[in-house]
């Protein structure tokens, strides 16, 4: 409940108001904006769109690679997937929205370091369905509240998942059993989400439900202090980009395409 009251990134609100385009980077993820709307999000804690699409068998891994290779440079990977008939528009949109809100939830986690914004950056996935920044913030807040209402112990989110000995009548659902099978005391909920190809938040909510039902252990100590931070090459962009280098790179790419 305290988390719900914490303001999530005032900078995002301001950027949305000025209809900014670019990428907002925090310690646990990045939000891509176009005209003040969120068009994409990425976080090391959340499986990417490629994982979600290929895990369900909706798309062959080669199909994804081909789309990135063919349409990545002109930032139309999403369109390519639909136009080439590999994924239907509805399936892609639903999967992308799921991935966007999933990564945004981790990116907007309260107190996760400074917020930086780089104007003009667009993601190569292209436009699928832009979401108003306010809706993204609202959903992230709702999700945080939901987790706490189920089982107010955030320790379970980042600790390796451990089963508890059964014996008190609680049974796991079919979805939960798929997660329990991977609970080897080493994998964290994030790693399990990636392995089963489901959004990380959907895994967290099941983990909290299972912890509440006594199916998995709730660690007494707060475990790993933070989920994986963004790699430096994303998070640590310099204040002053090397424009000349970027121009040369662009020219070289255009010449070779």
């Amino acid at each position: 409940m305290t988390a719900a009251a914490t303001p999530v990134s005032p900078m995002l609100v301001r950027l949305a108001e000025e209809r900014a385009t670019g990428v907002l980077v925090r310690d646990h993820g990045a939000l891509y904006l176009a005209d003040g709307h969120v068009v994409h999000a990425e976080s090391p804690a959340a499986p990417g769109l490629d994982v979600l699409l290929t895990a369900g068998g909706q798309l062959a891994p080669e199909g994804w690679q081909e789309a990135v290779a063919s349409a990545g440079a002109r930032r139309e990977v999403a369109r390519f997937l639909v136009d080439s008939g590999q994924v239907t528009g509805g399936a892609l949109e639903i999967c992308h929205l799921g991935a966007l809100h999933d990564a945004a939830f981790f990116t907007l986690a309260p107190g996760s370091g400074p917020t930086r914004f780089r104007y003009g950056v667009a993601h190569w996935i292209g436009t699928v369905r832009p979401v108003p920044a306010a809706a993204v913030v609202r959903e992230a807040r709702r999700r945080r509240g939901l987790l706490d209402s189920v089982w107010p112990h955030p320790e379970v989110d980042t600790a390796p998942l451990r089963r508890r000995a059964p014996g008190h009548g609680a049974t796991a659902t079919r979805r939960q059993r798929a997660l329990l099978e991977l609970a080897d005391g080493v994998r964290t909920p994030s790693a399990i989400a990636r392995a089963v190809g489901r959004p990380a938040f959907n895994t967290l909510i099941e983990v909290r439900r299972m912890a509440a039902a006594g199916l998995v252990e709730t660690p007494s100590e707060p475990a790993a202090p933070t989920p994986a931070p963004l790699p430096d090459w994303v998070a640590g962009f310099p204040a002053d980009p090397d424009i000349a280098l970027l121009r040369r790179l662009r020219d070289a790419l255009e010449a070779s395409l």
Binding site: G56, G57, G90, I94, G98, H101, L146, T173, R198, N202
Partner: protein
């Protein structure tokens, strides 16, 4: 030698793909491609054409997130309805598992004094369960027709 014949077709394939896309890019690409990308919106719009429809939502039932909503208004907050009805679906799924029923839920009907609430579970290849949620005005709705139309909308969505 074995690799040589395999290479050109692959190049041709990407080559033709690119050509085709380029041709389309020059011919009014936005108008031609937009509908394919707006599928959930189209499906929800279609749901509002159902006689007596008050509002509709497409919901992810694990997270409780509404992936899209239409209609509703001040009397029916569809985002709240979406999140709350995930508990309804989960309870029923769980009960069926307890009972050992190997069947699937097609839809769930909740009848109020003045409204019908219809929940249609989607048979998706997606690993995450989704459902369509439709609120109907009881006076104006034809329940049998509404169920039939909702089924068709699900099929059109092709998730």
């Amino acid at each position: 030698m074995a690799a040589a014949p395999a290479d050109p077709p692959a190049q041709n394939r990407t080559g033709t793909t690119r050509n085709r896309t380029t041709t389309r890019t020059t011919t009014n690409r936005r108008k031609e491609r937009a509908p394919a990308m707006a599928n959930t919106e189209t499906a929800l719009k279609e749901a509002t054409t159902i006689e007596g429809a008050i509002g509709a939502a497409l919901v992810d039932y694990t997270s409780g997130m509404a992936l899209g909503t239409i209609g509703g208004g001040k009397d029916l907050d569809l985002t709240v309805a979406a999140a709350g009805n995930t508990d309804v679906v989960r309870a029923k799924v769980r009960t069926m598992e307890h009972l050992g029923l190997k069947d699937e839920i097609e839809d769930i009907l909740i009848t109020l004094g003045s409204q019908y609430h219809l929940i249609r579970l989607m048979k998706s290849r997606n690993a995450n369960g989704l459902f369509l949620y439709l609120a109907l005005d009881k006076e104006r709705a034809n329940l049998a027709m509404a169920r039939h139309q909702l089924k068709k909308i699900e099929a059109d969505l092709e998730v």
